[in-house]
Amino acid sequence: MRHAICLIFVAAAYAQAPADIEFFDKEIRPLLRTNCQGCHSVNSLNSGLAMDSRDAIIKGGNRGAAAVAGDANSLLLQAVRQDGGLKMPPGRKLAPEQIAKLEDWVKRGLPVPQEFVAAKRRKSTHWAFQPVKRPEAAGVDELVQKKLKEKNLTPSPEADRVTLIRRVSLDLVGLPPTRQEVADFVADSRPDAYERLVDRLLASPHYGERQTRHWLDLARFADSDGYTIDAPRDIFPYRDWVLRALNDDMPFDQFTIEQFAGDLLPNATNDQIIATGFHRNTPSNYEGGIDFEQYRVEAVADRVQTTGAVWLGLTLGCARCHDHKYDPISQKEHYQLFAFLNNVDEVDKEADRKFFNKPFLELGSPEQVAALAKWDAAVQDVEFRIRKHQETLTQDADKDPKLIELRAELNTLRKNKPQVQRTLVMRELAKPREHYIHLGGDFTRKGSAVQPAVPAVFPPMKNPNAVPNRLDLAKWLVDKDNPVTARVTMNRIWQQYFGKGIVETENDFGLMGDRPTQPELLDWLASEFMAGGWKMKRMHKLIVMSATYRQASQARQDVTAVDPYNKFLARQNRLRLDAEIIRDSALTVTGLLSEKLGGPSVYPPIPKGANDVTQVKREWKVSEGEDKYRRGMYTFFQRSAAHPGLITFDAPDSTVTCTRRVRSNTPLQALILLNDDAYFEFAGALAKRVIQEGADKDDAGKLTLAWQQVLQRKPKASESQRMLAFLTAQRDAQKVKSEQAAWTAVGRVLLNLDEFMTRE
């Protein structure tokens, strides 16, 4: 029907009298050009409106049609007369005779010459939107070295074997190698010794743990709800799903589809539904007096932004309030993407408060599920009473008898949580929500209605549903014709191994982002990734097997002079380890690490007072047994008071997606490693080990042992000498002689060395 109407208008336009055409060319065209098209053209669609074709003017922008033939109340006329809310052009007003001419034009039925009838199609020449083009090359090294040659640089030699095994172990499994593993590798003279090592590491379940933590940064995963109340939430099954998927080497296309829309797959399994927790990791707010719809909208907007950063390498958030200032993404297209993610059955009104955080997937029998619902209500009730009571308190809350009682009640409840697991998931509403453009990014200001669709700058979806849904979006993201997903993903994987990507702005491949330093290399990796069926282990192997990766990291004068940021990789980069990996390393070298995989998050010791900054005080009951020594990725992440050992070493705060961690270097980090009880305990455990395992050795022998344990290498003479002097001074200062104390002091020094927290 709409098409039919358009056709009539077009036909009418063709039939315009020459006098009308002359009127347009003489009076209207220059007026539109000087006053409108600067902001409203096919290349600059402010508010979704183009004023450079008749069709576009009739179609209009976010507020609907700009002009209707013959209608004196057309939006365009209201805007230029400035008698309504919309005043155009901004900051000034057309002369009365100009306004009269526009009125006349509308009255005449918007006559235009033929070339002004049809909307022009936008086409981008920006590199990232062009199809992936596979260059002729044997692999990574050829392409890296080609660039180096252009810059007159030579690659660095391969790192020594000890450095190599430490590097590749920390990168692939996030744990340093044992003394035995180092000895074996150094002694292995077979030509494929390194490849065997890489294969062993890729097959280790710890590979999945390491890659899972990288992915959780993108997923903004946390164990609590965020905002004010920040209660614990049920989501760890999602984390374990990622762990299984990555260890099983699930292809990235499937990995994407299940996380986006596992629930919409035919005969979806529980696992596929659990996977949709990805986009449920957004913080949720349910403090008293809020408008639930506002925070639901925030969450959906975040999902759009996250999808942009993680898959498309686009800053879609820029198009939430207005058209993207640089990239070909209109505000309308933002809300078309928003529409895909806008139908989840989440709470949007006060009346449904008690269902906050729905939908869940319950992983138990119907009775268990019912018991859990009952328990839920009871917890809500006590938490509510605690909050109410707290509001009346003015004295030291910890001493208030009623509060103590309420907290005890809550603790008892929490201890008796019914043994049935559930997890936050996506579930589609039976009746879709209305989707519309939020004018100025404000959900209370409705613009024109939109339907789910993908941005026009990209190839279209293939065979989508009549009204495309999340599953269609997911399939489109990993369609091989999509020019960005493979590039963006491989760029991020590359970043894991060199500290920065081939495109340094790893979440912005748009016009304001950096250009790739080795564009051919990026395209080669992307095409290889897709050609290999989106298998990830294969790509990790391909990179760590390269000579480029295996280079020494020593700074080189000749490189610094030409390429101060080492963009072209004439050497490896030294990288400070991630927050979790520093502690994991300490646990490994002291022999304390628990290798248990998955399960509920754990509560390792926390410095006293670290979590008493929040409004609702959350108990941090230190885990017992091996759970005290689990890998950092399993540490319970409380958004409003995250473990200082994580945050201080730049773990993301998990409010929005994090595609690259900052690596800061601060005195607070030094205080943790020097003084925290946990690290003191690690140093003690190390001492015990050195004393036991080196019982038959002298001090120098014990030192070598300690060095190999912590840094996987033997000390140099100068280092040994310095540490021996320290050991002697320690012993001399002791009032009560204790070898354990003396070697604990040595352990503290080793665990604080730059080398310990760095991947060479």
Partner: protein, 471 residues
């Protein structure tokens, strides 16, 4: 620290300036404490009026109508149903209750008096503050964007109601560094019965490097987490340990040539200085009896009074941004005794802080800001029979400032006869943020950081310096 910065660092300082121009932050060095010279040369856009800020955050939202914004007309209308015209187009928290019972106006029960040369109004709840009327500038009719505590606190601190943006103290230390070599540049102190809603996000660094986060100082135990040596490690052993770490790190630096190692060596030295200066900082024994009395501070006790005194000691030691949170202003159900109590806790130490800074000559180069996240409604709220309180109000609340560049005794902005809406020009929290930055020598439009493709700033897409506030 970004890799680029490291390389630049290793080169000469002249190099650094040339390459970064005066681009703010690039050279603010991702450390908590930054070289004074560097900060001065690098960060400022114009001459500053102050060097440091003490932000007294009254968490929970104080009732301006009981403290500073005197409304005799409201007293006359006490108990009458609120005229529809005043509610139209406004959004309030807990609005669902309005349908059940239309809200009634509530006149204050407090006695108001004028003080100072310009006749600033103060109620009997804040007698001490009235004595500094000629030192402070009062702002009425300030508006904010969200009527819930958590988001509104975020808005005041980060310019956005969403989590994930840098807080004002982070922006400032990112922009112009800090003058303290022994203490973090951005320190957070807390008092009151519980932590503020929003928690660490209120002083988080958002997408800025984590080194710009506010560092909470605890009022009991170690002021900073892990500041004391582990048990059984004495000062001598700690010094030896640090020297050994330094020497071994130096050997590694020789070997690899990685400038990051020299940064690490510096950071360990700073950590050690923090360890030695921390206990001195919180030792109130150096304070005279008169000073302690003026604040109402008691050594060893966790209180707002102690924190005010600590704030003065922090700025004396060059800390750039000190933020105090005092919770417990959320008086929905009762504005009698609970309000007496919290005013009793806050009134005297706040006035003492201003006087103390002034008598020590510090007020000239310090900015003190006293504010909540929003104000309270001219309508009463009855949650419990026989008691009356006030609801959240975001359109017109009061705050005050004092210090260098602030016009002493000024009364800026105003509100209508009931205190519903501002009269005259609108002053939003973004304008207050722009003004704070302005006084520090920073143009709020130029202090930006690129994240996810956009140049973000504290004032988002708004903010105008409140000129009538300036001297």
């Amino acid at each position: 620290m970004q890799p680029e910065d490291k390389y630049l660092l290793k080169r000469t300082r002249r190099h650094l300036f040339r390459e970064c121009g005066f681009g703010i932050g690039k050279a603010a060095l991702a450390s908590l404490m930054t070289d004074k010279l560097l900060a001065q040369v690098n960060g400022k856009h114009h001459a500053s009026k102050v060097d440091r800020v003490i932000f007294l955050f009254m968490a929970g939202a104080p009732t301006q109508l009981e403290l500073f914004d005197y409304k005799p007309e409201l007293v006359k209308w006490d108990g009458k149903t609120t005229p529809e015209s005043f509610l139209k187009g406004k959004r309030f928290a807990f609005m669902d209750t309005f349908a059940k019972e239309p809200p009634k106006l509530l006149g204050t029960r407090r006695t108001f008096k004028q003080a100072g040369g310009n006749g600033m109004w103060f109620s009997d709840l804040v007698p001490h503050l009235s004595t500094v009327a000629d030192d402070i500038a009062m702002v009425h009719g300030v508006s904010t964007e969200n009527f819930n505590h958590g988001p509104a606190k975020l808005f005041t601190n980060t310019g956005s109601v969403r989590t994930g943006r840098p807080s004002i103290g982070s922006w400032v230390t990112y922009g112009i560094g800090s003058e303290s070599k022994n203490l973090p540049g951005f320190v957070v102190l807390q008092s009151g019965p519980r932590g503020p809603r929003g928690g660490a996000a209120l002083w988080g660094s958002g997408f800025l490097p984590s080194s710009y986060q506010g560092v909470p100082f605890r009022s009991a135990g170690d002021p900073i987490l892990d500041l004391s040596n582990p048990e059984g490690v004495d000062a001598e052993q700690q010094r030896r340990t640090l020297e050994t770490i330094r020497d071994l790190n130096k050997m590694e630096l020789e070997e690899t040539g990685d400038a990051e190692i020299s940064t690490r060596i510096d950071q360990y030295e700073m950590a050690y200085r923090m360890q030695t200066s921390g206990p001195e900082l919180i030792d109130f024994k150096q304070e005279s009896k008169e000073t302690l009395e003026m604040y109402g501070a008691e050594p060893g006790k966790a209180s707002y009074a102690n924190n005010c005194l600590l704030a003065r000691r922090l700025v004396e030691r060059g800390v750039r941004f000190v933020q105090l949170y005092h919770t417990d202003w959320d008086h929905h159900d009762d504005i009698t005794k609970p309000l007496d109590r919290v005013c009793g806790e806050v009134d005297r130490p706040t006035a003492a802080l201003i006087k103390d800074l002034k008598q020590r000559g510090l007020l000239d180069r310090t900015l003190v800001v006293w504010s909540g996240e929003f104000g309270r409604t001219p309508m009463g709220e009855v949650r419990e029979k026989g008691k009356i309180g006030r609801n959240h109000h975001i359109d017109a609340f009061s705050l005050f400032m004092a210090g260098g560049g602030v016009k002493p005794g000024a009364v800026v902005g105003g509100t209508d006869e009931f205190g519903f809406s501002p009269t005259g020009g609108h002053i939003n929290v973004h304008d207050i943020q722009a003004t704070i930055l302005h006084l520090l020598g920073i143009d709020h439009l130029k202090l930006t950081y690129r994240f996810q493709g956009r140049d973000f700033r504290l004032t988002d897409v708004a903010g105008n310096v409140v000129k009538p506030l300036l001297s």
